[in-house]
């Protein structure tokens, strides 16, 4: 019994310690943001890696998810004689939930893990120590541009995912199943409100981007400086960021008031 209490205490203490370290790292990222010189070149490079190179995956996934959604919903709605509601249901589910969450999870696997692995490898080969010895802050030089790139890329990729998914559902619902295109689009237009739904989608993807940026760069910076440590950190980024995204999704949805 005493060992159980001891373990529980040790784990709780370790969790609080980790949260404290992540928060401190997050603060140092924020402090690095306005520092000179601006790392605009590195930011653009990181944006290309995280954003442009993720576009193919996001387009393909978005279109496929849209097609599946179109097929499932059309079949179900037809059963209730409400097939003309396809555009509204597809639009709302994609804009409010599926778009930001699936984009967040896809970018976590595609770009977040890569950023952790890159920074972890830099740590293992003493490149971060090398920067510190040159009086260059590694958080400002390495982590900040990448975290910012993920924060900026996420809403843009979310928009791309939703657009492609709406297109995919259109192809299945209208071109394959025979629903009127005008009915699909007008249902979509009437159901999705810009301020409420698109605003919520934008906020979610922005928060997910910030969370992923923080987690991916922190895990890279804090990993053990060997190949096993980098591997563990990369896995941990995917797991921690995915869970954080799902939790944050629920909290934003609940606070927004659905």
């Amino acid at each position: 019994m005493s060992s159980l209490v001891h373990d529980l205490g040790a784990r709780s203490s370790s969790l609080v310690g980790s949260l404290g370290r992540v928060s401190r790292f997050g603060l140092s990222l924020l402090r690095a943001l306005p520092k000179r010189p601006t790392r605009f070149g590195f930011f653009v490079h990181a944006l290309f890696d995280a954003g442009v190179l993720s576009m193919a995956l996001i387009c393909l996934s978005g279109f496929t998810v849209g097609m599946v959604l179109g097929l499932q919903l059309y079949t179900t709605l037809t059963r209730f004689g409400a097939a003309e509601g396809l555009g509204a249901v597809v639009g709302l589910s994609l804009v409010r939930e599926l778009g930001p969450v699936l984009t967040g999870l896809l970018v976590t696997g595609r770009a977040g893990s890569a950023i952790t692995a890159e920074i972890g490898a830099m740590k293992a080969t003493e490149q971060l120590d090398g920067l510190r010895m040159m009086a260059i802050d590694p958080v400002h030089f390495v982590a900040m541009p990448r975290a910012l790139a993920l924060t900026v890329a996420m809403p843009l990729l979310n928009g791309l995912f939703i657009t492609l998914a709406i297109g995919g559902a259109y192809v299945v619902g209208v071109n394959l199943q025979g629903l009127d295109g005008g009915v699909y689009l007008s249902g979509l237009e009437n159901a999705v409100r810009f301020g409420d739904d698109v605003g919520q989608s934008l906020l979610k993807s922005l928060v997910f981007g910030m969370l992923l940026g923080l987690i991916a760069t922190y895990k890279g910076h804090s990993c053990a400086p060997d190949s096993a440590g980098v591997a563990r950190a990369t896995t941990s980024t995917v797991v921690t960021a995915s869970v954080s995204i799902l939790l944050a999704d629920y909290m934003i949805t609940a606070l927004w008031g659905v």
Partner: protein, 212 residues
């Protein structure tokens, strides 16, 4: 620890009068501008070219123009025996010896007052060992740079050092190379090995030549 990358568990480290353990990371940065560090594996940024790596401290900490940076980078690369042809290469395209010399160039590009070299000879062929040794000796003897070398390469250490600190059995043994090579404790002379005996023989030979 002398560079402030690790804090001591006990005791204190002073560099140029600064007590390192009392400094914040930003204040440490000010001290580090006076220190050049040669890492064991180079620690060059692998996404940057040789020119960008060597010129990085100048770009970050000085207001030098691009042309001035280029001139200085050319000069330090020449000082370590490398030409301009290596400047566009990435670290992964360099051999071990070249990589170490580029790291050397980066460590001295800001003209530091103190150079820390972590195992500068490990993994190098004999020719490159001599090259690096000559560079360190030149910087120390001719330019007056203070150099702290951490090394297991006894032959080079004995040839170069003014003072040596031997870590043995949780104790520091301090002395000149001659004192350590002829130390009364057999554990010390055994650790220094054949290189110590060769060093003493060479020293004796030189003394005989000077006083025939």
């Amino acid at each position: 620890m002398i560079g402030g990358l690790q804090r001591p568990d006990s005791g204190e480290v002073r560099v140029a009068g600064h007590l390192l353990s009392a400094l914040s990371e930003r204040e440490l940065g000010e001290v580090r501008r006076e220190i050049g560090m040669l890492f064991q594996n180079g620690a060059l940024l692998d996404s940057m070219t040789v020119f960008e790596n060597v010129g990085l401290p100048l770009i970050e900490h000085t207001k030098q123009s691009r042309a001035e940076v280029r001139k200085r980078v050319d000069a330090v690369l020449e000082a370590v025996g490398l030409g301009r042809d290596v400047e566009p290469l990435l670290p992964r395209e360099l051999s071990g010896g070249m990589l170490r010399r580029v790291a050397f160039a980066r460590a001295i590009v800001m003209e530091p007052r103190l150079l820390l070299a972590d195992e500068p000879f490990s993994g190098l062929d004999p020719l490159n060992v001599v090259r690096i040794e000559d560079l360190l000796t030149h910087l120390n003897r001719d330019l007056g740079l203070t150099i702290v070398v951490s090394s297991h390469h006894m032959a080079s250490s004995l040839r170069m050092a003014d003072q040596m600190v031997l870590l043995h059995d949780k104790k520091c043994v301090v002395g000149t190379p001659e004192e350590l090579a002829s130390h009364p404790d057999p554990a010390i002379t055994e650790f220094i090995g054949e290189d110590g005996r060769a060093y003493l023989a060479r020293l004796h030979e030189l003394q005989q030549r000077e006083d025939p």
